[in-house]
Amino acid sequence: MTMEHRKMIDDRKIKTAEMANIDLTELPNVTVGDISVENPRMTARQVQVNYGDKVAIQDVSLDIGSCEVISFIGPSGCGKSTFLRCLNRMNDTIKSCRVSGDIRLNGDDIYAPDVDVVPLRARVGMVFQKPNPFPKSIFDNVAYGPKIHGLADNTGHLKQIVQEALERAGLWSEVHNRLDDPGTGLSGGQQQRLCIARAIAVSPEIILMDEPCSALDPIATARIEQLIHELSSEYSIVIVTHSLQQAARVSKRTAYFHLGRLIEVGLTDKLFIKPQHEMTNNYITGRFG
């Protein structure tokens, strides 16, 4: 990542915190709802993220269970993406960003000094807001992860991995006869599914999705949502979304963030029908955000 780009992101984040123009310490320190689950795959406790002097998120504690879909909702700049990017240490690429607290994947502290981010990111895959396939062929896009991590024993095995990943991403039937075509030549929805296939190909335990449908039309969105549903039998999926309907449709649990705090978390059905916290209520009924 270029320095200009890094700086741009830093500035943007700092500006967002400034815009909020609120002393985070004034907010209630307690998250409403049950943050923990049985057999968590990932646990985060008292996570705080600073961009320079600005506090982006504070005191966020949350468990992510095995094979569950959890969605993060909240107004822009509330820190949900920031928290998501803490989970595979993508925030490391932002220079001024400091993360404190305790985040564990299967009990191992991922911010321990001896942890290498490369294997971590292989276990916690990521799908970005804008579909970003590599400017390479469809095959190479999916094969790239397995190749660099040495997952395939030979070329035949690699082909199998690619096929299976594309099948699970629901893209195989559409691209199996043009695997050598550029990945960037696909439609937006297909590109995003290609990115999901790319994440699946390295067999992660958790897939993080940062507003994966915000650049897609409703039909492609429906396709992705169906895919998330199918994938949830094998992977834990964390999805950041601005669409409350989407959160309601795809996720088992929902977490509501506001101004850098995790306000409320709970089963999606309950949270949407009977929110415990007033702010959550205001947000989902459209009074602010």
């Binding site: 990542m1 270029t2 320095m3 200009e4 780009h5 700086k7 595979n88 993508m90 690429t93 220079k95 490369v118 294997p119 971590l120 990111r121 292989a122 895959g125 990521m126 799908v127 970005f128 804008k130 970003n132 396939p133 590599f134 400017p135 390479k136 790239y144 992860g145 660099i148 991590h149 550029p182 960037t184 990115c195 790319r198 994440a199 190909a201 390295v202």
Partner: protein
């Protein structure tokens, strides 16, 4: 509503005023377009004048006048020891063989006549005869019609640069020579043909024998050294500064200095080369190795700046995608950033190489302006380069060097265009891989 009313105007008045302002706007647009067209016309006119003048002077430079005479290839005279070695051939009297054939052709007797006739043919003729029999000894003892270059003064006379009307003592060829030339021409023995000396000859004080071959090879060797040094160092520097180096005061100072280096006059790099490589390290002068290193120093800033721009243009989403699947920083750079930035890096390299190809000043400083007849066989043999050769020829007094200079300029341009075309083709190939 009166005229002095402030604030928004009514839609009706607005419509009228917009209509009224249209004519003025359109006129401005037309004037601007006219200005642009005339600017392009002026630029094109200059370009045409440039090309017409270079080609008008240079095309004749690709041809020269030859004389065809029947030569008795006498083994005893050419090859006194009889073993066909170069030593023996050089000991032999090739000049005598050619001259006696010419005397026979023109029927000349007497010393002054012979001297006049002898001056017609280039000094390169004997060398050509030696080479001919060395390559094909079976010609010995036969009579062959051979083609020899005419002396440059004769060539200039035939082209009309030396006028017949000029009084004899003021021109470089005398009446007797003109008489011989007329006779040879009447017999159809003087031919105007493509000049092989220009392409395959090396530096020479005899204009009719001078060619660009040595300088051409020198240019290729120098540019190869330059490319091999400047491209890897330039690209590596750009990647380090752009992707890896922390942004602090030191990297900032380095950046500023690289940008400044791009504006340093090239002759300064020549002085640096002279002081460091020749002065301190005591390396020999005039060698393409040092020329290449000096030109590499000169082209480095260009390559670094354009490579950094190319790297910066790689979308951040690609880097995120690579990091997201668990690629390390090095893998992200080498698998994704460099392939995408490569066309831009190559563009910078092409521009740098084109600069290096046309550069004269720094090479003068390190002695590549020396008069070197031998073609350099390696980067450590003394040599010169095309633009320096052109510079030297432009300095010589003989009339024939004017055409040779223009011809060499055309060859330099052709070299440049070929090099750029090749680079563009390579770039397009890389781009097609998305």
């Amino acid at each position: 509503m009166n005229d002095t009313a402030k604030g928004l105007v009514s839609p009706k008045i607005a419509t009228e005023r917009v209509a009224a302002s249209m004519a003025k706007r359109k006129k401005r647009e037309r004037n601007f377009q006219r200005l642009g067209r005339s600017a392009i016309a002026v630029a094109l006119a200059f370009l045409i004048v440039l090309f017409v003048s270079i080609f008008a002077k240079g095309i004749p430079g690709f041809f020269q006048y030859y004389v065809e005479i029947g030569v008795e290839i006498d083994r005893e005279k050419l090859d006194p020891t009889g073993d066909l070695t170069l030593q023996s051939l050089y000991a032999g009297d090739a000049r005598g063989v050619i001259r006696s054939s010419l005397y026979a052709e023109l029927d000349v007797e007497g010393r002054s006549d012979k001297r006049a006739a002898g001056k017609l043919i280039s000094q390169g003729a004997e060398q050509r005869l030696r080479k001919l029999v060395y390559d094909d000894p079976s010609l010995m003892g036969t009579k062959q019609t051979l083609r020899f270059a005419l002396d440059d003064d004769v060539d200039s006379f035939l082209r009309g640069f030396i006028k017949r009307e000029t009084p004899e003592k003021d021109r470089r060829i005398n009446d007797k020579m003109i008489d011989y030339i007329d006779r040879l021409q009447a017999e159809g023995k003087i031919v105007y043909a493509f000049s092989d000396y220009l392409i395959f000859g090396s530096a020479s004080r005899n204009p009719e024998m001078a060619g660009i071959y040595g300088a051409f090879i020198g240019s290729i060797l120098t540019l190869t050294v330059c490319l091999l040094i400047a491209f890897p160092i330039g690209v590596a520097t750009a990647i380090y500064l752009e992707e890896i180096a922390p942004k602090n005061r030191i990297t900032e100072i380095i950046e500023i200095n690289i940008n400044n280096l791009a504006a340093v006059p090239s002759v300064v790099f020549g002085i640096l080369g002279l002081a460091v490589f020749i002065g301190i390290f005591g390396m020999p002068r005039s060698i393409p190795l040092i020329g290449g290193v000096v030109l590499a120093l000169m082209t480095l800033p260009t390559i670094i700046i354009s490579s950094r721009a190319a790297i910066r243009a790689v979308p951040p989403s690609v880097r995120e995608a690579a990091l997201g699947v668990g690629a390390s920083q090095m893998q992200t750079i080498f698998h994704h950033v460099i392939p995408l930035a490569m066309p831009g890096m190559l563009t910078g390299t092409i521009i740098g190489m084109a600069q290096a190809l046309g550069e004269t000043a720094p090479l003068l400083m390190i002695g590549m302006v020396a008069f070197i007849v031998d073609v350099p066989g390696s980067v450590t043999d003394p040599g010169t380069v095309l633009p320096v050769q052109i510079f030297m020829w432009a300095d010589f007094a003989e009339r024939m060097f004017v055409q040779k200079t223009s011809a060499a300029i055309i060859i330099l341009l052709a070299f440049l265009i070929t090099m750029n075309a090749a680079a563009i083709i390579i770039r397009k190939k890389l781009e097609r891989r998305w």
